[in-house]
Amino acid sequence: MIKVLLADDHSIVRAGLRRIIEESGEMGVIAEAADGREALRKAHEHLPDVAVIDISMPSCDGLEAIRLLRNDYPQLPILVLTMHEEGQYVVRAIEAGAMGYITKQSAPEQLVKAICKVHGGHRYLTDEAAEALALRVAKGSQGRSPLDTLSMRELQVLRRLALGNTNREIARAYHISIKTVDTYRSRILKKLELRNNAELSRFAIQHGLIEP
């Protein structure tokens, strides 16, 4: 039985989530909190196995709450559950110390799986979130890197190209035109002084953008 702390400022949402969690039979909500501060207090009182936290909450926002929880309970896995789909939030949440990130929309399908995963000490991220994180980490981790010269979108395209995606696939994934993808590609090659996709793949592996 996994003990879950649920922090969300909407009681209806909390109720929905609680039902999803408890119906799984493997875990139970031992405490609920309506904001960051309360989440801290409840964590202190109940010592949960996993904390599920919304990012946008009043009084003490989710990111701050994550940082504080990580500080007090370094071993406590935190799963972020949020309305926000934007990659920028994912990066901030992981930077703050979250182990997983899912949207509320996908909660019925993924929440239980995600809790299990983070409880097992693994990351849980959607594809988009994983990608955003990989790029940001790659860009931010290595001091002065050639990656610094690339924009976020260029990094995305670089990663996809390195993974072997076609221009069409990339265009579809980011809702941009094939021509734009091509423009990005030539821009990336020029910036990194590379000649072709093979060199581009090697570069991506070297800089930790993709697994070898």
Binding site: H10, I12, V13, A15, G16, L17, R19, I20, E23, I55, S56, D61, L63, M83, H84, E85, E86, Q88, Y89, R92, K104, Q105, A107, P108, E109, S151, M152, R153, E154, Y174, H175, I176, S177, K179, T180, T183, Y184, R187
Partner: protein
């Protein structure tokens, strides 16, 4: 006529001066020449004396050598031994030849000649007795001697050098040896000058050597009978009669001959012969010739040339003077004519001209002056100028202008008022210069007056109009200032209003977006959870209802997407929670997604900036991107954000068709105005650069205040 006389006198004076100058010059030259000649004579006489002295001592040493020779002693000791005499004769011959003398001979103690170099000649001395000769008498007593005399045997003049010949064991001489040298040679050599007369005289004054052979054995003075006897007795100079040469000494330096010719005299004692003299005479006429000849040769043509020059000059000057006189007469006529013309010009010039003397009285006026003031000339000439002035003008003129004028010599544009004969008053401007006498003292003025009555009236009117205008313009300015203040205050209010409207709009949007996203969105997600639950629950029991729940779920998903996108367009939550860089990153990728226009976002380190600044930057970017999507037809957009020395720099540029800033589409212009408004509300600036087919660049710059970030 007078001028010609003057010229004549002047030329005479010139000739006279030239003559006097010439004479004085000649005299000076002559004196110089005489002095020079005296100096030369002195020099000459010294040279002669030295030469004679040298000549007369020439054979003293040879005769001593000769006297010491053994052969002569032998000859004297053995007078009868022919071999001994021959030996003596050979020695004498050898000496005579070597020394180039006239004769060498040997005498015994009695004066008898026993051997001689001329023993073979007709006038041989051998056997002759010369005991009477002083040179013998001296030598036989042991003293060598020299002597000048005319030979008694040869009849030729000579210098005799005698020396005693002694035997080895006896002090008294056993004979005398004599060398006689010819005088003629030295006479020819030394006394060669033409202008000069050289005389060598004995103590009696008898000429023994001279270049004037006719005077030889004559005396330079009348001899007394006593003197004549003495000379005859000595047999020194033949038999006489030693007449006077006819030149009388006058003082030490001058002499005159019987014809009256003057001579310059220098004399010097011939030292080896006491009482003998060297006398040098030089003809004064010859001296005069030495300088007058070249003078006449040079001066003759010069004097002729001078005469011609003077004559020519007189002629030329005479011609010149005649021309000058003619020209002067013509000039006087022209001057008279010019004066007449000037007077006519003065009177008829259509300007008010007048002249006053130093007393201020009118001496002349022009016709126009009279015409303007209505007077006749007789009424004004001789009257004071100030009589025609108004009282105030008169005071001004007499106290200030006129005294100053006669000092400085001019005045310009002095405003006066004239009173016409009919009593009218006219305004004039008077300018004048003073006419000066040759001494520089002003004698009268030349003045011109310009009638400015009309002009003055016009000026007054103009001035009045200008004052009026100024008053109006001041009024106008005041009103404009007032209106400007009003408008400015309204503008300020409007600006405030616009700021607050924007502010509240942002707040409103933020609130609505939050409401939509957080409240409605959350509710919808909760609803979705329920519908999923329903679907799962009914899957087994009621497949139809489960399907319905799935449809509901899909519908809810769509609704959530719609709500989210609505909220995000109103105001992206990223901007508030994550900041400007993340917001722009999202906005540019969203733009790319929506428009298919490639959009690059570049940024430096994320700046910490105020919320209002971030909002402004975000909205400006959003507006610029909207404009690009609507109007630019661009393929590519570059958004860059950076901070440089405290200034936030946001640039949005595209490669689209650009626009002419003068002709903007209304919506585009409004968008631009909105951007500007936002920029100025946060104290920043917005520049838009664009041109046909050059793309557009929007640049927003604002100073950030890192302290006050909120």
């Amino acid at each position: 006529m007078k001028l010609r006389l003057i010229l004549l006198v002047l030329s005479l004076v010139a000739v006279l001066s030239a003559a006097t100058g010439g004479f004085l010059y000649y005299d000076a030259l002559r004196t110089d020449a005489v002095e020079e000649a005296e100096r030369q004579s002195l020099e000459r006489v010294r040279t002669l004396k030295k030469s004679f002295s040298a000549f007369l001592s020439e054979n003293i040493k040879p005769v001593r050598s000769l006297a010491g020779l053994e052969q002569l002693r032998h000859g004297l000791a053995e007078p009868d031994d022919a071999a001994a005499l021959e030996g003596a004769n050979r020695i004498l011959d050898h000496f005579n030849r070597t020394l180039d003398t006239e004769v060498c001979y040997l005498m015994d103690r009695r004066g008898q000649t026993i051997a001689s170099s001329n023993r073979m000649d007709d006038d041989s001395f051998v056997g002759e007795n010369f005991a009477f000769r002083p040179y013998f008498q001296s030598a036989v007593q042991g003293r060598p001697a020299t002597y000048l005399a005319l030979g008694t045997t040869s009849g030729r003049r000579g210098a005799y050098y005698s020396h005693p010949v002694r035997a080895d064991d006896r002090p008294e001489p056993i004979g005398v040896v004599v060398i006689k040298a010819s005088i003629e040679l030295i006479e020819r050599e030394l006394v060669s000058g033409q202008d000069e007369i050289v005389l060598v005289t004995d103590p009696h004054g008898v000429v023994f050597i001279s270049n004037q052979t006719q005077w030889l054995y004559h005396s330079i003075q009348e001899l007394s009978d006593d003197g004549r006897d003495q000379i005859a007795r000595s047999l020194q100079f033949g038999e006489g009669p030693w007449n006077w040469i006819g030149i009388r000494m006058e003082g030490e330096r001058h002499a005159v001959d019987l014809q009256g010719n003057g001579y310059l005299v220098q004399r010097a004692a011939l030292d080896p012969y006491p009482g003998w003299n060297v006398i040098h005479l030089r003809s004064l006429a010859a001296i005069a010739r030495t300088f007058s000849d070249p003078l006449i040769r040079i001066a003759g043509p010069s004097i002729l040339a001078l005469c011609i020059l003077i004559g020519g000059s007189v002629f030329f000057l005479y011609r010149k003077a005649s021309g000058d006189i003619f020209r002067r007469q013509a000039a006087e006529a022209a001057l008279r004519e010019s004066e007449e013309r000037y007077r006519s010009l003065y009177h008829h010039t259509p300007a008010m001209l007048h002249s006053i003397d130093t007393n201020g009285r009118l001496v002349s006026v022009s016709d126009y002056w009279l015409e303007n003031l209505g007077y006749t000339r007789d009424e004004v000439i001789g009257r004071k100028l100030t009589d025609f002035f108004t009282d105030s003008s008169r005071r001004y003129a007499e106290e200030t202008v006129i005294p100053g004028f006669f000092q400085t010599g001019f005045c310009k544009d002095i405003p006066y008022r004239f009173v016409k004969k009919n009593g009218d008053i006219i305004d004039i401007l008077l300018s004048a210069v003073s006419d000066r006498a040759t001494a520089g003292r002003p004698v009268r003025s030349l003045a011109v007056s310009i009638d400015v009555t009309e002009r003055k009236r016009a000026e007054e009117a103009l001035q009045q109009a200008q004052q009026e205008l100024q008053r109006h313009s001041q009024d106008l300015e005041r009103q404009v200032r007032k209106r400007t203040e009003e408008v400015t205050s309204i503008l300020k209010q409007l600006r405030r209003l616009s700021g607050s409207i924007m502010d509240s709009q942002e707040k409103e949007r933020k609130a609505v977006a939050r409401e939509l996203h957080d409240e409605l969105g959350q509710l919808l997600t909760a609803l979705r959870m329920d519908s999923v639950w329903l679907r799962d629950r009914l899957k087994e029991t009621d497949a139809k209802a489960s399907e319905r729940a799935l449809t509901m779920c899909t519908l809810i998903d769509k609704t959530i997407d719609g709500v989210r996108s609505m909220a995000i367009r109103l105001r992206p939550g990223v901007l508030d929670t994550l900041g400007l860089v993340d917001a722009l990153e999202w906005a540019t990728s969203d733009f790319e997604k929506r428009t298919s226009i490639t959009c690059f976002f570049n940024h430096g380190p994320a700046p910490i900036i105020k919320d209002t600044l971030a909002t402004a930057a975000y909205r400006i970017t959003q507006e610029a991107l909207t404009n690009i999507a609507r109007h630019a037809g661009a393929n590519r957009v570059d958004v860059s954000l950076g901070v440089e020395s405290g200034v936030l720099n946001l640039v949005v540029s595209d490669d689209g068709r650009g626009f002419d800033p003068q002709h903007l589409a209304e919506s585009f212009g409004l968008g631009l105005a909105g951007m500007r408004e936002r920029a100025s509300l946060v104290g920043g600036s917005l520049e838009v650069q664009s041109g046909q087919r050059m793309g557009t660049q929007v640049r927003f710059r604002v100073a950030i205040d890192p302290e006050g970030s909120d």
